[in-house]
C-alpha cells in the first residue's frame, strides 16, 4: 500500500482522494498491523462483512471502484494493479524468498508471479480521469457502469446472504456453523476469490507469520481441510494468467 499512498499524495492536490478498505472478518485484529505500517493520510477503513462485495460487486483483491465528485460510479469494481515499477527497481523472486520458506509458499509465490496485470494502462487511465474528469474516455456512462458490474443472479444474491451469515457465525465463535455457510457461498458465487480466500484464511493450515496466507490443507492433517478447493489448487486449475480478468479501457 505505500505505493498507493505515494500516488494519493501526488494526485490529492488535483481533487483526488484514496479510500482503502480492508476486507476481513477479523477486522482490526486482521488489518491493524498492515494499516499502522502504511500510516495512511487518507481514510482507511475496515469491512468485516465484505460490504464492498455486496454493494459494489468486489470479487477479488486488490480491486478498485472510481467515484466522481457527484457521487456517481464511473468505473465499477475491477482489478487494481499497483503502479508500474521502474525496471531498475524490480527484484527477482529468489531474492525475496527466505531460505526456510515452506515448499507450498515457494509454489504459491511462483504462481503469484504468473498473475498478469495491465498496470501501465490502468494507471495511465487513472491519471487521465483525474485530469479530465467526465471528459476522460475512461469515465464510463451510468449504463455502462451497471452493465460492467458483476452479474448477479438470484443464486449469487443468495450466496451473499450465506457469506454474511457465515461471517456473523464466525464472529460469534461458531466456526463449524460458519464453515457450512462459507461452503454455500463458494458454491453460489464461484467467481468470488475473496469469499474463498476469506474462509481459507480462517483455517489453521499453518502457524507463524504466514498462517493466513497458507490458504490450504495443513501438511500434518490434510484430510481436516473443510473446503473443496484451496488457493494453490484453484489457481493451478484455472491458470494463474486467468486469475484477474483483463483490464478493459
Amino acid at each position: 500500500m505505500p505505493v498507493w499512498q505515494a500516488l494519493r499524495d501526488e494526485l490529492h492536490p488535483s481533487g483526488f482522494e484514496l479510500v482503502t478498505v480492508g476486507l476481513d472478518a477479523l477486522g482490526a485484529d486482521g488489518c491493524r498491523h498492515f494499516m499502522e505500517a502504511a500510516a495512511p493520510t487518507h481514510p482507511a477503513l475496515l469491512d468485516q462483512y465484505h460490504v464492498l462485495a455486496r454493494t459494489l460487486g468486489v470479487i477479488n483483491i486488490p480491486s478498485s471502484v472510481w467515484i466522481d465528485e457527484q457521487g456517481m460510479i464511473v468505473r465499477p469494481a475491477e482489478a487494481a494493479p499497483a503502479p508500474p515499477t521502474p525496471a531498475a527497481e524490480k527484484t527477482t523472486p529468489e531474492r525475496q524468498l527466505p531460505a526456510d520458506m515452506p515448499q507450498r509458499f515457494i509454489e504459491m509465490t511462483g504462481e503469484a508471479m504468473k498473475i498478469t496485470s495491465q498496470s501501465e494502462a490502468y494507471h495511465a487511465a487513472l491519471k487521465d480521469w483525474v485530469t479530465k474528469g467526465a471528459d476522460s474516455e475512461f469515465a464510463l456512462s451510468p449504463e455502462e457502469v451497471i452493465d460492467r458490474s458483476r452479474p448477479r443472479s438470484a443464486d449469487v444474491a443468495m450466496g451473499h446472504a450465506h457469506f454474511e451469515l457465515a461471517t456473523a457465525l464466525e464472529l460469534d465463535g461458531n466456526h463449524d456453523a460458519a464453515i457450512e455457510h462459507f461452503r454455500q457461498a463458494h458454491k453460489l458465487v464461484p467467481d468470488s476469490w475473496t469469499f474463498r480466500r476469506q474462509a481459507w484464511s480462517l483455517e489453521p493450515g499453518a502457524t507463524g507469520p504466514f498462517a493466513r496466507f497458507w490458504q490450504g490443507p495443513s501438511e500434518d492433517d490434510p484430510a481436516a481441510w473443510p473446503y473443496e478447493g484451496d488457493w494453490l489448487a484453484d489457481v493451478k486449475k484455472i491458470g494463474a494468467e486467468n486469475y484477474s480478468e483483463p483490464w478493459r479501457p
Partner: protein, 113 residues
Amino acid sequence: MILRGASSDTAKFEQATGWTFKPEGACKGDVCIPLSEPPGETIDALELAQAMGLPVVTHADGELIAIGPESVGAHALTTAEAPDIRLPDLDGNEFALRSLLGQKILVYAWAPY
C-alpha cells in the same frame, strides 16, 4: 445485512440494503418494488425481505438472520449512484463515503490474507 431477530429499525434497513421507502414502494435508482403498504418506523425485516424478493438465510430458528442483496437488475449495481457505504476506521469511528462528495474517489479493496 445481519439481524438478530426479525425486528429492524426502518432507517437502518434502508441504509444497509440501499433501498429507500417512497410512496411508490421500495426504490433504488430508477427501480421501484411496489409494496402493499408503506413501512412504519420499525419493520419485520423477514416479511419485508420476502415482499421485496431479497434472499434470506437464517440460523438457530431465526435468531440470526442474513438478508442478501437484490438480483432484480441481474447485476451487482442497480444504479451507478454510489451506495451509502459507512464503515469504521481502526479506532471504530464510522466513516461515510458520501462525506467525500466533491472529490474524485478511488475505493481500494485489499485484504490481509
